[in-house]
Symmetry: C2
Amino acid sequence: MSVPFDIETVDLSEEELRAQEATYGALADSVRALNEASLRTTVPADEVAQIRDELEAITQRLRKSQIPGPHGVVMTRTGEQRTYGNAVVGLRNPIAVPLEIETDPEGRAWSRFDLNALYEGPPALVHGGVTALILDQVLGQAAAAGQAPGMTGTLTLRYRRPTPLGTCSAEAWIHERQGVKTIVHGCIRDAEDNTTVEAEGIFILPRWAREMLAAHEATPDRFE
Amino acid sequence: MSVPFDIETVDLSEEELRAQEATYGALADSVRALNEASLRTTVPADEVAQIRDELEAITQRLRKSQIPGPHGVVMTRTGEQRTYGNAVVGLRNPIAVPLEIETDPEGRAWSRFDLNALYEGPPALVHGGVTALILDQVLGQAAAAGQAPGMTGTLTLRYRRPTPLGTCSAEAWIHERQGVKTIVHGCIRDAEDNTTVEAEGIFILPRWAREMLAAHEATPDRFE
C-alpha cells in the first residue's frame, strides 16, 4: 500500500480538543480581522512602521513553538477528520473565510458566508478564482458526504453574472456516479439568491486512497 | 454608457506613489508572515490570549483611518492601473501570495511563486481551488496583455497530478481570438517543471467595458 501521507491522531480528550480548537480558532479570527484592517488602512507611514515592528515581534513569539510543516489531515480519538490548515475551511487558517459547510449523506453540501474586501477581483466583485476555490471545496465535500470521496479530476466553471462582495452561498450535489468517478454539480449564489457561477466537477478516488479506505474498513479500530 | 464602477485616479507624483506602495506593501508582507506563523503555532493558550489582545489593539489602530470599501482599480497619473486589493496579485492584500506576473504583448503571462502552508488542500499539497484561483488571474492577464481584456466566461481545469506545496510556476497564452471572445490556455507546474494542472479559459469583454474602452480611446487624456 502506497499512501502519500500519514494521518496522525490527535491524542486529546473531547474536552481538551474543544479547548485547543477554541484557543487557535480565536487566534485565526483575530488575524482575519487584522488582514482586512491592514488591507484598507490609510494610517501614516510612521504609524505603519511602528505597527510592522510590533507585528514582527509577535510573529517571532508565535514561531517559538510550532508544528514542523503544514497541518494536513489529523484524526481525533473518535475518528473524525480535521483539516485545520485547509485554505477554504481550515479553522486555524487565517486566509480561509472560513466556510462552515453542512452536508447530508445523499451527497449534498451547502454553506452561507461573507466575502469581504480581501476576496476582491474586479472592483467590488468577488474574484472569479475565489468562487472557483470555494466551489472546488464544496463540490468535493458533497462527493465525500455521499460516500464518494475523491480528488478533483476536472472542474468546469461557468460565470453567469458578476458576484458582488458580501453575503454569498454555495451549494453542490452528486449528479452522477460512474464507478471511481463521481460527477458533482454546484453553484454560487449572491445575496439576492441569483446564481452567479455554475460548476461541474469530476472527482476521482486514486488507487492509494481506495487501498487506504479498504485497510481502514478491514481494521476499524486503526485510528482509535 | 453604463459602467458598473468608477476608476479613480491616485493624484500622487511618481515618487510619492512609490513611497506609498513601499509603506503599505511592507505592511502586507509583515501580515503575510504573521498569517503563516499563526497557522502553525503551538504556543500555550495564555500566550495566545495575550497575543490576541495585542493584535486586536493593532487592528483598532489600523482602522483609525481607512478607505471606505474595497480597493477596486485605481489609475496613476501616468495612466497605469493598480489593483492593490486583488486576491491574487494585490500588493496590499495580505492573503494574496502575491504573484508578480510578467507579460508580453503577444498575449502571454507567466509567474514563479512559492505556496506555503496557508495554501494547503490535501496534506502537503496545494489546494486544487488555489491553483484554479491563480490560473484564473494568470489567464486573464495573458488575455489583457494581448489587447483582449475580458471577464472570465468559462474556466476549465484538468488536474493531471498533485501540486506539492513549495515553488510553483504558472504560464498562460492566447490560444484563439473570436471577436469579443478570447480563448486562453495555461498551466501550473511544480518545482520539477512537471505540469500539474491544465486550464482553458474563455474571456469575454462585456458591453460596458467595450464602451468604456472606446470612450477612453476617444479622449486619451481622460485620466491625466
